[in-house]
Symmetry: C2
Subunit: 572 residues, 2 copies
C-alpha cells in the first residue's frame, strides 16, 4: 500500500475523554472515530485489524465444524416476548416500532432468533447436533458506554448456537468450541486465559470466559501459577488459608467515638485489620427476613455474585439504607457487629477462622474487642462471600492463587433447555419420544478483541500488535523520498519486488523523517525497513523490529530477502 494513496488519519493527541490506552491509541492511530456515545466508525487502519480478527474467527469456526449463517439486527419483539426476556433484559434492549406500528428490537444477542429458526427447521434427532454461527452486528443500549471500543453500544460479535439431543453431545460441542477459542486467541497472538465464570442470567450449567490479559481489563482473574486453574474472581472460591485458634481474650466494650469504618477502627485502636470483622446489611430475598447481615474480615471485599446466589439474599445485591439499619439495630451503621445481631447473620468462611476479633457493639460509638465465634456469637450460617485474594489456596489444591486483570473477549455457555423449553421446541428421539433439545452458545466480541489486543500490546510510542493483527506486516520508510532520487528509485524498486503489497506500509508521502517514524510506530508495523541515502551508499538498509525496538543494518540483499520471506510466510 502506498501511503500517499491511503487514509492514515493519525493524530498527535487523543481526546480528553479517552482514559484507557486502547481508546487513546485507536483514535491516535486513525483506527476509529466516535460518531455518538458508544457508536464508532472504523477507519481504514482499524478495519484492516478488524478484518484480520474476523478472518481468524471464521477460519477456526469453520474448521471446528460450525456453519456460518447471518441473522438480522432487526428482530420482531414477539420472539423476545416468547422467551420472557422482552422486559427482563432491561433497558439495554432497544425497542422500536416500524412504519406499521409493529414492535421490534435491535438484537443484543440472538438466542431467540436461532432457537426460533431451528425449531422451524428441525424435528428429528437425525438433524442434530447442529452448530450455527454468525459474525454480526449487535446493539446494546448500555447506560454508560465507556473505555472506547471495549464497551460500545453497536459492536460486532461472533455468536454461535448449538443444539443437541443429549448432554454428551452438548459437552462434545462445548469442548470443540473451547478448543476452537484457544486456537482463535492463539492465532491472534494474544496472551489469554480461559477461566471459569458465573453463568449470570443465561441459565445453564457451565461457562468459561476467554480473558485477554491486560491491566485495564474490567475483570479480575484468579489463577494458579502451578496449574491450569483460572477463574473470574466472581466465580473463584475463596478458601481460608488458616484454621481458627482457640479464644485467648474476654470480650471488652470500648468507647470509639467517631469510628465509623474499619479503616478508622484500625487507625484509632491500632488493631490488626485481619483481626476485625465488619458487617454489611443487605436486602433479604424473603419476607421473613427483609434484611440480612453479611460478616466479612475487615480487609476482605464482598463478592456480589456469590452473595446473589445465597438463598437469603435478594438478587441483585442491594445495600440496606441507613434509616432502615438504624431502625433495626438501634445503632449507627459504623458501629454494627456480629454479637447479638438482630437479623439473620451469614458469616464468610474466612471470617469464621478469625479469633479474638474486634467488631461493632451494635451501640453507636462502641466496639467490642476479644470476640470469638461460637462462644460469643452462636446464631449464624456460613458461606463463601468474599473475593479471593492473592495467596489464597488454589481450589485445585496445587498452590496459591495470583490475581491479574483481563478483558472478556469470549464466552462459552452450556445453556441447557432454557430456550428450547421457553419456545416449546421439541424433537423426537430414536424411540419416538419428544424432548427439548439442549443448547450451547458461544460468543466472541470481535470488535472488542481489537481493543483488548491493543490494551495488551502497546508502549509509549503506540501499538505493538502481534504480527497476526498488525494493520500492516512490513514497513518501508524511505528518507527524503521527495528529495533524493537515489532513495526514491531504490524504494520504488524495493516495493515493486515485494509480494503481498497490501501488507506493505510504503510511506511514499515525503513527510519529514520524524513524522514518518512516529506514524509507523504509532500504527505498530512490526517489521520496518528504513531506506536512507547514506546507508544505501554502503549497500545497506536499516531494519527495525517494532516490538523489541532492536535495529540493525542489513545488506540490501538481506533486507529484500527478509521482507519477501516475512510476506510470503504471512498467514492472514
Amino acid at each position: 500500500m502506498r501511503i500517499s494513496k491511503y487514509y492514515l488519519a493519525t493524530l498527535k493527541e487523543a481526546p480528553s475523554e479517552a482514559v484507557i490506552d486502547s481508546h487513546k491509541l485507536m483514535i491516535r492511530a486513525g483506527m476509529v472515530r466516535k460518531l455518538a456515545s458508544g457508536v464508532y466508525t472504523w477507519l481504514p487502519t482499524g478495519k484492516r485489524v478488524l478484518n484480520k480478527v474476523e478472518n481468524i474467527v471464521r477460519r477456526e469456526m469453520n474448521a471446528a465444524g460450525s456453519l456460518e449463517t447471518l441473522a438480522t439486527m432487526v428482530i420482531p419483539a414477539e420472539l423476545w416476548i416468547e422467551s420472557q426476556r422482552y422486559d427482563s433484559y432491561g433497558n439495554n434492549l432497544l425497542k422500536f416500532k416500524d412504519r406499521k406500528e409493529a414492535d421490534f428490537v435491535l438484537g443484543p444477542t440472538h438466542e431467540e432468533v436461532f432457537t426460533h429458526l431451528v425449531r422451524q427447521e428441525v424435528s428429528s434427532y437425525r438433524q442434530l447436533p447442529l452448530n450455527l454461527y454468525q459474525i454480526q452486528t449487535k446493539f446494546r443500549d448500555e447506560t454508560r458506554p465507556r473505555f472506547g471500543i471495549l464497551r460500545t453500544r453497536e459492536f460486532i460479535m461472533k455468536d454461535a448456537y448449538s443444539f443437541h439431543l443429549n448432554h454428551e453431545s452438548l459437552v462434545e460441542t462445548y469442548k470443540d468450541m473451547e478448543t476452537a477459542y484457544h486456537k482463535v486467541f492463539t492465532a491472534c497472538g494474544l496472551q489469554f486465559r480461559a477461566v471459569e465464570a458465573d453463568n449470570g442470567d443465561m441459565g445453564g450449567s457451565g461457562s468459561k470466559e476467554f480473558q485477554v490479559l491486560a491491566p485495564a481489563g474490567e475483570d479480575v482473574i484468579a489463577y494458579c501459577e502451578n496449574s491450569d486453574y483460572a477463574a473470574n474472581i466472581e466465580k473463584a472460591p475463596a478458601i481460608p488459608s488458616t484454621v481458627r485458634q482457640a479464644p485467648t481474650k474476654e470480650v471488652e466494650k470500648v468507647h470509639t467515638p467517631g469510628v465509623a469504618s474499619i479503616e478508622s477502627l484500625v487507625d484509632f485502636t491500632k488493631t490488626d485489620i485481619t483481626k476485625t470483622i465488619k458487617l454489611l446489611v443487605v436486602k433479604g430475598a424473603t419476607e421473613e427476613a427483609p434484611l440480612v447481615a453479611l460478616a466479612l474480615r475487615g480487609d476482605h471485599e464482598l463478592n456480589e455474585v456469590k452473595a446473589n446466589h445465597h438463598p437469603l439474599v435478594a438478587s441483585p445485591v442491594t445495600m440496606a439504607d441507613f434509616a432502615e439499619i438504624e431502625r433495626v439495630f438501634n445503632a449507627k451503621p459504623g458501629s454494627l457487629g456480629v454479637v447479638n445481631c438482630p437479623i439473620p447473620l451469614v458469616v464468610d468462611d474466612t471470617a469464621l477462622t478469625v479469633s479474638d476479633f474486634a467488631t461493632g457493639a451494635n451501640e453507636t460509638d462502641y466496639h467490642l474487642f476479644g470476640v470469638n465465634w461460637d462462644r460469643d456469637v452462636t446464631n449464624y450460617q456460613s458461606a463463601d462471600l468474599r473475593n479471593a485474594v492473592e495467596g489464597d489456596p488454589s481450589p485445585d489444591g496445587k498452590g496459591t492463587l495470583s490475581l491479574t486483570r483481563g478483558c472478556e473477549c469470549g464466552h462459552i455457555f452450556m445453556l441447557g433447555d432454557k430456550y428450547s423449553k421457553a419456545y416449546n421446541f421439541t424433537v423426537t428421539d430414536e424411540n419416538g419420544q419428544n424432548l427439548h433439545p439442549l443448547m450451547g452458545c458461544y460468543g466472541i466480541g470481535v470488535t472488542r478483541v481489537v481493543a483488548a489486543a491493543i490494551e495488551q500490546n502497546h508502549d509509549d510510542f503506540g501499538c505493538t500488535l502481534p504480527d497476526a493483527l498488525a494493520p500492516f506486516l512490513v514497513g518501508l520508510v524511505p528518507v527524503n523520498y521527495n528529495k533524493s532520487e537515489v532513495v526514491r528509485q531504490f524504494a520504488d524498486q524495493f516495493y515493486q519486488e515485494l509480494p503481498l503489497k497490501d501488507e506493505v506500509y510504503f510511506d511514499d508521502r515525503g513527510e519529514r523523517l520524524g513524522v514518518a517514524l512516529a506514524d509507523i510506530d504509532l500504527l505498530g508495523v512490526p517489521y520496518q525497513f528504513i531506506v536512507g541515502e547514506k546507508n544505501l551508499a554502503n549497500n545497506q538498509v536499516e531494519f527495525k523490529n517494532r516490538r523489541t525496538g532492536e535495529k540493525e543494518l542489513l545488506s540490501i540483499e538481506e533486507a529484500k530477502a527478509k521482507a519477501k520471506e516475512l510476506l510470503l510466510n504471512y498467514v492472514k
Copy 2:
C-alpha cells in the same frame, strides 16, 4: 464439506407467498428463511454465496484504490436533520429513541455519516481525493417489501463515498468505479448492462445503474444492439422514427356512446391505434395551472420520470381526479381530446408526428377524427413524455432500441456539492481559497446480487449459478454410500485426495439417489461426479455439467484429475 455434517435445509415446496423464481429457489435451496416481512436470515448455503459476492466486491474495490471502512447502522438523527433528509426521506427512514430519549435512525444509506466523518478529518486539498467504502447492513422500512431477497428491509450494501477538489478528479474516480463495477459483475459471471439512469433525489449530474439482466427484474432497459448505448427506460430518450405527413382529412365529430378508452375506440371504430391521441390530466406544479394535460399517442405509455422533470407538472406525477376533470372539461374523462383543450397542453414529441388522428371531442360520448396539429390545435408545448419502445431510434444514431428487463444491483452517482454544502464542509485549495468538495457515491446491493444472479441463472431443477457464485464448485455423489462398501471406500478416498475441500459438496448422507440428485441440482453445484458401483466396476465415474446438463463417463483417473483441476483453478 461432508453434507452429513452440513445443514442443507432443502425443501420440496416454496411458500405460496413466493412469486418470483429467485425467492422460491432461495427458500427451497435452503439459502434463506423469512423472519419478518422483508427481514431474512441467511442459512449456510445462502451465506456461502453471499460471502463469494462480498469477497469479489471487496477485492475489486481494494484494487480500484477505495479504502475499506465500517460505519454503524445506528446514526444520530441530527446528521439527517442537518442534511435536510430527516423529513424528506419519508417513512423508509426508521426513527427511534435510545434510553436517554436521544433521536436516532437506522441508516438506509450513509451520505450523511461519511460527509460528517470527512468534514471532521479533512481540511486541505492535500488530503483529497479520498474514496472510502464499507460493506454494511442497511435498513429501509419499505411500505411493501417484496420479491424475496430482491427488496428486503434489512439488507447488505457496499457503499462508497468519494471526495474531490474539482470536477476532473470526481470524473476520474467515477470512471474508476465504473470500471471496478464492470469487473465485479464480470467476475460474478453475470450478464449485465451499465445503463444511464435518472438521478432521482440524489442530486448531482450523472449516474449509471448496473442492471443484472433477468425477466423478473423491476427495471426495463432500452439498449442498442449495434452500440454500447443502454439506459433505464426512465431515462432513455424516446425519439420519433417518422416525420409528420400533411393533413389529408377534415375534422369529423362522431358519436361514440360508451367509448371511454383508447382500446374501445380502436375496437368500436376500427381505427389504427397509432392514429389516435390520448389525453392524461395531471396536477400542475404552479398555481396558475393547477391541472395540465399530457397528450400521447394511443399506444404509448407515459414516462413518469420524464413528466416529473417537466416544469409545468407537479412532482411526483399525480393523476387528476375524475370530478376535477369533469368540472374543468365539462366532459367525462373518456372523451377528452386535444382540440380546444381548456388547460395547458404538453404534447409528446412522437404524438406530434401523427396526422389525421382521432382524439376525444371534449364532449361526453363524442370523438373527433381527421384532426391535425397546428391546423386544429395551436396552443401547446412539446416534450419527450413517453417510454421508449422496441424499434425506436437509438439516441446515439447507431440503430434501433431493444428492450429487456433487469435488477438494479449497482448504482454510481456524481453527487456534486449537495452534501458538502448542506454540511458546510469546505477545504482550502492550492490558493488558500475555501471550496466545497465534490462528492460521488457508489453502491452495490450485495444481498440483492445473490437474488438477481439466481433470477438470471436457474432452470426447472433449481439454481444454475456461475462458478464464481455457486455455493459449492464440485459435487461428489456416491450412490448407496451407506450400503456399498466399494462405493463408500472409493468416495471417501476421492474426497480425501481433493484440495479445497470446503468447495466440495460430498453427499455422504446415504439418502436415496433421487433425493441426492435433486438436492445437488437444486443448489446448482456446477460440476458433479456421480460414483456408482456399476461404473466403478468399469473403472468409470459419471460426470455431469449442471448448467449444460451434459453427462459423460470418465475414467477414474480423468475424473480425479478434472475435480482437482477445477478446485485448484478456483478463485474465490
